[in-house]
Symmetry: C2
Subunit: 233 residues, 2 copies
DNA sequence: CGAGTACTTGATCGTGATCAACGGGTGTGG
DNA sequence: CCACACCCGTTGATCACGATCAAGTACTCG
C-alpha cells in the first residue's frame, strides 16, 4: 500500500489530530500508521495492559469501559470518527476500548507515535485540547450518573445522541430521526441503569408521544421541547 | 513583592507544572503570577463564565462541581496542592471551582498563561500528562457513581482519601488516622448519595470495627483488609 | 450561654433493581 | 423452506436500597 495514499484518502484527514500537520509532515505518520479493521465486539485495548497502540477512529463507533473486580461494567465514553484513543506515554491502560459496530482505525505503535508528537507541537496542542474536552464530557456524565433520575438520564442521552447523530443541525423543531449505535444493554451501561429500566423509560417517552421508536435501533424525536423538559432543562 | 521570591519560597515548586521550568525560565511565570488567598466556601471560577484565570493550588483543598438547572450538585473532582486548575484557552468554564478549606493559590491571567505555555513545550507536556491522569480519575469515579452500592462507594472513598492523606505510605496494616477535608454533605456530593446515607454507611463501618471516627473530621482505618473487602476489591 | 451548623438516628416511601415470562427478528442447519 | 435457537427487547410482579421526612444530639462560635 502506498504510504501517501493512506492519508490522501483518509475520511477524517482534517478533523483528526493529523489536521495539525502539513501534507509533507504527514509522511512521518504515514510511515508508522497502519489501517486496521475490527468487527463489532472486538477489543483494541484492554484495561490493565501496557499502552501499546494509539489510534484515530476512521469509521464506526467504539466504547470505553471500566469494570469492577466482580464483573460489573460501566461505559465511560464513546469514540466517534476522527476521535483519538490510547495514551502516547508508557503506562497501564485505564479503560477497555471495544468496537460497538464494525470499525476502521488508523493505528500507531505507541512509542513511534510518542516520537512524532515530540516533533509536532501543534499536534500535541490539539491533543491537549481534545483531552480537556473529553474531561469536560466525563464530568458532565458524572453529574448525570450521580444526580439525574432514570427518566432524566434517558432523555438527556437521547438529546445528546440526536445532536451527535444528526450533525448538530440547528435546534430545529419538527421530527428528527436517527439510529442508535447501541443496544439497550449498552445504553444501560452508559447511564448506570439496567436494561429493563432503559426499556421502560423509552416506553414511557413513546407513550407520551415525545419520541417514536421505528425499528430496533431507530429513534424519532417528535417533540424536542418535551424531551428537553424530561431531561431537566 | 519581589518576583523571584514568589517562586523561591513556593511550597509546591517542583511538584507543580512549574517543575518543568528552570529557575531562569520561572521569571516569565513570576511576572504574571499572583498569590491569592480564598476562604473556605469562596469560589475561584464559576461554571459558565469565560475562562479568565489558571492557577496552581499551593495549600488547602478545592472542589470542582457541576450542577443541574434545578440546583442539584455533584462534585466532579478534588484539587490538591500542586494541582492545576483552569483552562489555558478561551472558552466557557465547565465546572465551578470552590475552596473546601482556606486555600492559597498562585494565579495567572488566562491569556498570559497561554503565552507562557506556548514557549515552554515541556510544561505543556506535563499539563497533557496531568490532564490524562485527571481523565482516568474521572472515569474511575464514573464507574463508582454508576455501579457501586452506597457501602462500596463510602469504603472506596475512605481508601482513596487514606492514600492521599497519609502520603501513599505503604499499604501497611495497623491503624492509619487522617482528617477528611470534607463535610458529610460534601462526601455525599462526591459519591452521588445523600448525607444521611453517608452517615449511616460510616456508622455501619464503625459498628463493624473496620474504622473509628475520632472527632468531627477524623477517620481511623482499623482494619484495612475489611475496608477493601467492603469496597469490593 | 444561646444560636447555628454539622452530624446521627429513626420511620416511611418510592425509584429502580431483580426475577420471570414472553414476543419478535435473524441466522443456521436440517 | 421451515424449524429451531439465540439474542434483543418488552412487560409484569415483587423486592430492597437509598431517598425523604423528621427528631434529636454534639460542636463551634458569637
Amino acid at each position: 500500500m502506498n504510504a501517501m495514499l493512506v492519508c490522501a484518502d483518509c475520511a477524517v484527514r482534517d478533523k483528526a489530530l493529523c489536521g495539525a500537520l502539513s501534507d509533507g509532515e504527514l509522511a512521518a505518520l504515514n510511515r508508522i500508521g497502519r489501517r486496521r479493521h475490527l468487527r463489532r465486539g472486538e477489543t483494541l485495548i484492554w484495561a490493565g495492559e501496557d499502552n501499546a497502540v494509539c489510534a484515530n477512529l476512521l469509521s464506526g463507533v467504539m466504547k470505553l469501559t471500566a469494570g469492577t473486580a466482580d464483573g460489573r461494567e460501566q461505559i465511560v465514553g464513546l469514540v466517534y470518527p476522527a476521535d483519538f484513543v490510547g495514551r502516547p506515554w508508557p503506562g497501564e491502560a485505564g479503560v477497555t476500548v471495544t468496537a460497538l459496530s464494525d470499525v476502521e482505525l488508523c493505528t500507531f505503535p505507541r512509542a513511534a507515535f510518542e516520537a512524532v508528537l515530540e516533533d509536532h507541537v501543534r499536534m500535541e496542542r490539539l491533543l491537549l485540547q481534545r483531552t480537556f474536552a473529553a474531561l469536560d464530557e466525563a464530568r458532565n456524565r458524572m453529574l448525570a450518573l450521580g444526580r439525574l433520575s432514570a427518566g432524566e438520564k434517558v432523555a438527556a442521552f437521547l438529546l445528546a445522541m440526536a445532536d451527535r447523530g444528526s450533525g448538530c443541525r440547528a435546534t430545529g423543531f419538527g421530527p428528527v430521526t436517527f439510529d442508535l449505535p447501541l443496544t439497550r444493554g449498552e445504553m444501560a451501561e452508559i447511564l448506570g441503569l439496567t436494561i429493563e429500566t432503559v426499556s421502560r423509560q423509552l416506553g414511557r417517552l413513546k407513550a407520551a408521544g415525545t419520541i417514536a421508536l421505528p425499528g430496533a435501533r431507530g429513534v424519532t424525536i417528535r417533540d424536542r421541547a418535551a424531551l428537553e423538559a424530561a431531561a431537566g432543562n
